[in-house]
């Protein structure tokens, strides 16, 4: 099999150019979608029959929780590709994902806590869902700390990639925790092999918000990866020629 296309994509100058031209598209589309979804979710969508207007925090909580897991999978795949094909750009992409994923995880935990206090009657419980999501935050932070502890970028890449791969086991655990064990957190409303348990009028803004968050991820990771390329290639000839 020929891997030329793959290696061309993995060449830093090529990636740097492509990412630079994609970032604004991601950025503006994400901003537009998030604004639309915010208005739709907060104003147009009906209140819930049990939780009233309080359920609307779902429009931040669920997308950020989804993105916290999505980002981890992207990070682990990039780390695995970096390990197998020895592609520095893949390691750089994994490194670019970590702070974004950690932010999504923190947002999911914080909004969940704010939601839990009035509805459940508690800020925090140690049930399987909440605990495994907290573990995800620690995995991101551990990944970043491990990277930072090496001076040699190659050793940092390899060591942190192994951690990213080990931690990916936590992602299905987070997702299925609500089905495998009794938890205070309710089971999934949307991501299941069944009709969504959420009314269509409430589901549309949720999907718009998730799409907006996905595009935001595209924007943030493009920008961060460009920064990462600049840092790693600061002595390269193509950069000297470009500046």
């Amino acid at each position: 099999m020929s891997w030329t296309w793959f290696h061309k994509l993995a060449s830093p100058p090529h990636a740097y150019r492509i990412l630079g031209s994609m970032a604004p598209w991601f950025g503006w589309a994400s901003l537009a979608l998030i604004l639309l979804a915010t208005w739709w979710g907060l104003v147009k969508a009906p209140a819930d029959y049990q939780q009233g207007d309080g359920f609307r925090i779902l429009y931040v909580h669920a997308p950020s929780a989804w993105m916290s897991m999505f980002t981890y999978v992207v990070m682990a795949v990039a780390a695995g590709v970096g390990l197998v094909w020895r592609i520095k750009l893949a390691h750089a992409a994994a490194a670019a994902c970590a702070p974004i994923g950690a932010s999504f995880t923190f947002l999911a935990l914080a909004t969940g806590s704010i939601w839990g206090k009035p509805m459940w009657g508690t800020w925090w419980v140690w049930d399987a869902r909440l605990t495994s999501e907290l573990l995800l935050l620690f995995l991101y932070l551990g990944y970043m700390a491990l990277r930072a502890s090496f001076d040699d970028p190659q050793r940092a890449d390899r060591a942190s990639a192994v951690l990213a791969l080990v931690g990916v086991i936590n992602v299905p655990i987070i997702h299925y925790s609500v089905n495998w064990w009794s938890t205070l957190h309710q089971p999934a409303s949307v991501t299941k092999f069944d009709k969504p348990s959420i009314d269509l009028a409430m589901l549309i803004p949720l999907f718009l918000m998730i799409a907006g968050f996905q595009l935001y991820f595209g924007w943030a990771v493009s920008r961060r990866l460009r920064g990462e390329i600049l840092r790693r290639e600061r002595n390269a000839n193509w950069l000297k020629e470009a500046t």
């Binding site: 049990q50 197998v84 020895r86 459940w120 009657g121 348990s197």
Partner: protein, 150 residues
Amino acid sequence: MTPRQKRMVTVVAIVAGVGIATAFALKAFNQNLLYYYSPTQVHAGEAPASRSIRVGGLVENGSLARKPGSMEVTFILTDYAQKVPVSYTGVLPDLFREGQGVIARGRMDGNRFVAEEVLAKHDENYMPPEVADSLKPHLDAANSAAPGST
């Protein structure tokens, strides 16, 4: 095998190995990962009597009673198979109502469960009040026809 294929095998082996190890560990600790016991488990003696436990179930319709002049409430927790009478003194969460899932933390005192904390569970259904109203006759019919479904 080329070095690249070797590395590929290593990566797959790491993920599979950690996955299998985690699966065994979770299986071994399964009981500890349960956040609450059901009334059936309590009746079967699966819940420890000596320490504080959590019991989760639905608040039986018509079972909620408030003691006049105090914060004390009593209600019955059910999973449609077994029932546990609960008494609790304190503020109940907003979502606490009859027919709603709750989790009570406390200990058994004879046949009665004395709760120190009551948390409301909410389910995965979200809908506007009009839809809930139109569904209600169906849901009630379904509940009385098929007890045991939660």
